[in-house]
């Protein structure tokens, strides 16, 4: 009996060690895969392009140079897909797909595709969304001067690097444009996605015969969680005031606000699993090995994680919610903020994904 259990223990230890080394190997290979994809992309660029795409790792200005706005309103640095040759563009997308999970990559493409629809359809005067008792929309005689470059389109997304791609030293990959800002820090085996902004307008469209909702999961899973709460939990989760926009959007780095709403420690197992499901919509954008580490961290934090909701508690079937929600924990801030602009808030959303303790991978890169 004793010898048997010893044997079992030994076998278990060996298996555990094997598993651990496999995991390490996998983590290493994730980073090396990403680095080689990055170097491949960089090798397709000419000197001038390479210069404009590479920034110093400590370039604070470029690090924070991201936004939800179209690129003509907030110009990005680096080079965009439109300026690239077909080979370069393919290498850029290959790099993106190596650093993201399949679903993350798909989500990013759907956001970009949505902007292509903006380019093709958005030609009429803007809907004012003037349902708040505000003054009439601006006179058409004093419109903004944005030059005559294109505003929307799936090729108007920029890529930039902070630091040189390396398996050991920390570096950052930025990819973004209108409604998208991926800030990915790679530091050895660590991959960090925060802060990242996703958004969608239209939040629902048809592409190649299929209905696409780039941020549909973010909306539906959160609503399902809200519906799974009982009356007293709802009372805590639903805030009695309007939340017009992201609180910790672009430019709001390094802030930790007081959490509000319903604490997950007061949720049952099913509700907690649902909450993790909502969180995974953001946490799983990055490649699987980094996402697994991140999800484990967020799962461990669950008792200290809050869920808050503001706005309508129902949604039209098949459409996104029109309510704001926030998930906040010791290492997490997620905000989902529908935008009134365009008239239908279910069609336009901005979201934010942060780790107040580890935005830009600070935890792994601090010297």
């Amino acid at each position: 009996m004793i010898s048997f259990s010893r044997k079992t223990a030994r076998t278990g230890t060996v298996l555990a060690l094997l598993y651990a080394s496999l995991m390490t190997l996998q983590a290493q290979s994730a980073t090396s895969r990403i680095v080689s994809a990055a170097n491949t992309f960089l090798s397709t660029l000419n000197d001038k392009q390479r210069q404009s795409v590479l920034f110093a790792f400590d370039d604070a200005k470029q690090r924070a140079n991201w936004s939800n706005f179209p690129i003509v309103m907030v110009p990005r640095s680096g080079i965009n897909l439109k300026e690239m040759s077909a080979t370069q563009r393919a290498a850029a997308m290959a790099l993106l797909s190596s650093v993201l999970s399949p679903r993350g990559f798909e989500k990013v493409q759907q956001i970009m595709e949505g902007d292509e629809i903006n380019k093709n359809t958005d030609t009429g005067p803007p809907q004012s969304g003037n349902n708040g008792g505000g003054p009439p929309p601006r006179r058409s005689s004093s419109p903004p001067p944005f030059g005559n470059g294109p505003i929307f389109g799936k090729d108007l997304y920029f890529i930039s690097f902070l630091g040189k791609p390396s398996e050991k030293d920390p570096w950052m990959l930025q990819f973004g444009g209108h409604h998208l800002a991926l800030n990915i820090t790679i530091a050895g085996e660590h991959g960090v996605l925060t802060p990242t902004l996703t958004g969608a307008q239209p939040a629902l469209y048809t592409f190649e015969g299929k209905t696409v909702r780039p941020l549909g999961g973010e909306s539906d899973q959160a609503l399902a969680l809200l519906n799974a709460l009982d009356a007293s939990q709802k009372k805590q989760a639903i805030l009695g005031f309007q939340l017009a926009d992201l609180v910790l959007g672009p430019g709001q780095d390094g802030k930790t606000i007081q959490p509000e709403g319903l604490k997950a420690s007061a949720m049952n197992a099913m509700q907690r699993a649902m909450l993790l499901g909502v969180i995974s919509e953001w946490a799983n954008i990055i490649d699987e090995s980094a996402a697994a580490t991140r999800m484990a961290e967020l799962k461990a934090d669950l008792n200290e994680t809050w869920f808050a909701w503001s706005g309508p508690v129902t949604a039209e079937p098949g459409k996104n919610i029109t309510a704001y929600y926030r998930i906040q924990g010791p290492h997490l801030v997620i905000e989902y903020a529908p935008q009134r602009l365009g008239g239908d808030p279910s069609m336009h959303v901005h979201t934010m994904y942060r780790d107040p303790t580890n935005d830009y991978g600070r935890r792994f890169t601090a010297k």
């Binding site: 939800n68 706005f69 179209p70 003509v72 309103m73 907030v74 903006n118 958005d122 030609t123 009429g124 005067p125 803007p126 809907q127 004012s128 969304g129 003037n130 708040g132 008792g133 505000g134 003054p135 009439p136 929309p137 601006r138 058409s140 005689s141 004093s142 419109p143 903004p144 001067p145 944005f146 030059g147 005559n148 505003i151 929307f152 209108h178 307008q201 009695g240 005031f241 309007q242 939340l243 017009a244 926009d245 609180v247 430019g251 802030k255 930790t256 606000i257 007081q258 509000e260 935008q339 009134r340 602009l341 365009g342 336009h348």
Partner: protein, 444 residues
């Protein structure tokens, strides 16, 4: 600008449709509460459809440029549209900085005005309520107000209340001074207690509380310093004898316990509510008084009466924070009972750790200087706390006392060793004392 960019082009661009809110004036405020002041940082973004109106309000001379004077005037105008108060008393915000975007950015509905301002907070109680009402451009405003998690660990946010538009914002927080902090921390943590956690954990919290409440302990220790001594007129004389000392110590500790239990119980039942500031000051005064008493006896009867009186005050320190405990009546009683028993247990541990040493040493001539040094230390700490709490003066008392408290076990151990040395060095003649010493050694 239409001169430069033909209207035809501009119309076909239709930027705002995918940009941002157009017809609203976003005003997002972040509140940051500190010990004696509160900081505000405000972002104001007029949407494209309303920006011309806002620009007209800012650029009063309509020269197309926002001058320094116009910036200051507009920033002050924003401040004038705010109503700020703490605990119901109005606060005067002071402008720190005002950064304006370019005229172009504003016209595009992208311009972000950033203003920062502060207000200094007058001294107040433990429980504070900050109110911010924003009326600025309320017709078109979309307000957001949030507070940062306070960087000062002594400040804890209890609740935030807002009206539907977030025009009205109220922040409830506890600001503990060094002395009250452990009380508040313990009591606030009771909020989450619903009865399931149990008596044991509340008991442990009580123990932690007194172990952390350095001023509470200092009072008790100062009071115990002369306890083994005989009162001779207006001076402290030699050792009073084992029996007499133990009796005296028992009286002091019991009187103190009865005192703070009474007020604690009254507070638990919601029977009294006293502002915390004077209590904090009085607690510091109590230490000063017992320190003086340890040097020269100022109270007859060895201090049991004064222990009782100040016990009442120490118990009151709980009272201020109890008002915010949303517990049922029975839960309160149970919590307070457990909490109080925890306090007593820890108190007994402290007494058990120090009294044998004090009694041993009180036999020797070295006790006089030790007693006076100890009393002087307590007196200095008390004075520091009084200055701190009464006049808002910053002193390093907390730092020093906390540093010592963290080494309490070592200090108690050192005290005991030196008391043993004293006991051996100065011949022990008293039979009863020798017996006591032997019992003590046997016990170890």
């Amino acid at each position: 600008m239409s001169k430069i960019f033909p209207i035809v082009v501009v119309l076909s661009l239709v930027v705002p449709a995918s940009a941002h809110r157009v017809d609203e004036y976003l005003q997002a405020t972040i509140v940051s509460v500190e010990r004696d002041r509160v900081q505000f940082s405000m972002r104001l973004v007029p949407g494209i459809a309303v920006s011309s109106g806002i620009i007209a309000t800012i650029d009063t001379n309509r020269d197309g440029i926002i001058s320094e004077t116009e910036r200051q005037t507009y920033a002050q105008r924003i401040l004038a549209d705010l109503t700020l108060s703490i605990d119901g008393n109005p606060l005067q915000p002071q402008l720190i900085s005002a950064v304006f975007p370019t005229m172009e950015e504003m016209k595009q509905g992208l311009g972000e005005i950033r203003i920062e301002f502060i207000a200094s907070l007058p001294a107040g109680g433990t429980n504070r309520r900050l109110t911010l009402v924003n009326h600025h451009q309320s017709q078109i405003a979309a307000y957001l107000v949030n507070c940062l998690v306070p960087s000062d660990p002594e400040i804890r946010v209890l609740a935030q209340h807002r009206d539907e538009k977030q025009s009205f914002y109220e922040l409830d927080y506890v600001q503990s001074s060094a002395s009250v902090a452990p009380y508040i921390r313990c009591l606030s943590s009771l909020r989450g207690w619903t009865g399931a956690v149990g008596f044991a954990s509340i008991f442990r919290r009580g123990m932690h509380h007194i172990a952390d409440g350095t001023d509470h302990l200092l009072f008790l220790l100062a009071l115990l310093l002369p306890a083994p001594l005989l009162l001779s007129g207006s001076r402290w004389a030699g050792f009073a004898g084992v029996r007499q000392s133990l009796l005296q110590i028992f009286r002091v500790v019991t009187a103190f316990t009865i005192g703070h239990s009474i007020t604690l119980a009254l507070a638990a039942l919601g029977a009294m509510h006293v502002p915390s500031r004077p209590i904090e000051v009085l607690i510091a005064v109590s230490i000063l008084v017992s320190a003086v008493h340890a040097i020269r006896p100022i109270f007859p009867g060895g201090g049991a009466g004064i222990a009782m009186f100040f016990g009442l005050i120490h118990g009151l320190a709980f009272a201020t924070s109890l008002g915010h405990l949303e517990l049922g009546w029975w839960q309160r009683v149970l919590s307070i009972l457990g909490f109080n028993l925890g306090i007593e247990a820890m108190q007994l541990i402290v007494v058990a750790a120090t009294i044998p040493s004090l009694m041993l040493m009180s036999r020797s001539r070295l006790y006089s200087p030790l007693r006076i040094v100890g009393a002087l230390f307590a007196g200095c700490a008390a004075t520091g706390w009084i200055l701190n709490r009464l006049l808002n003066m910053h002193t390093s008392v907390d730092l020093i006392v906390d540093a010592l408290a963290h080494r309490a076990v070592w200090i108690a151990g050192g005290l005991f060793l030196s008391s043993l040395v004293c006991g051996l060095r100065y011949r022990i003649t008293d039979q009863s004392f020798r017996r006591y010493l032997l019992t003590l050694m046997g016990g170890l």
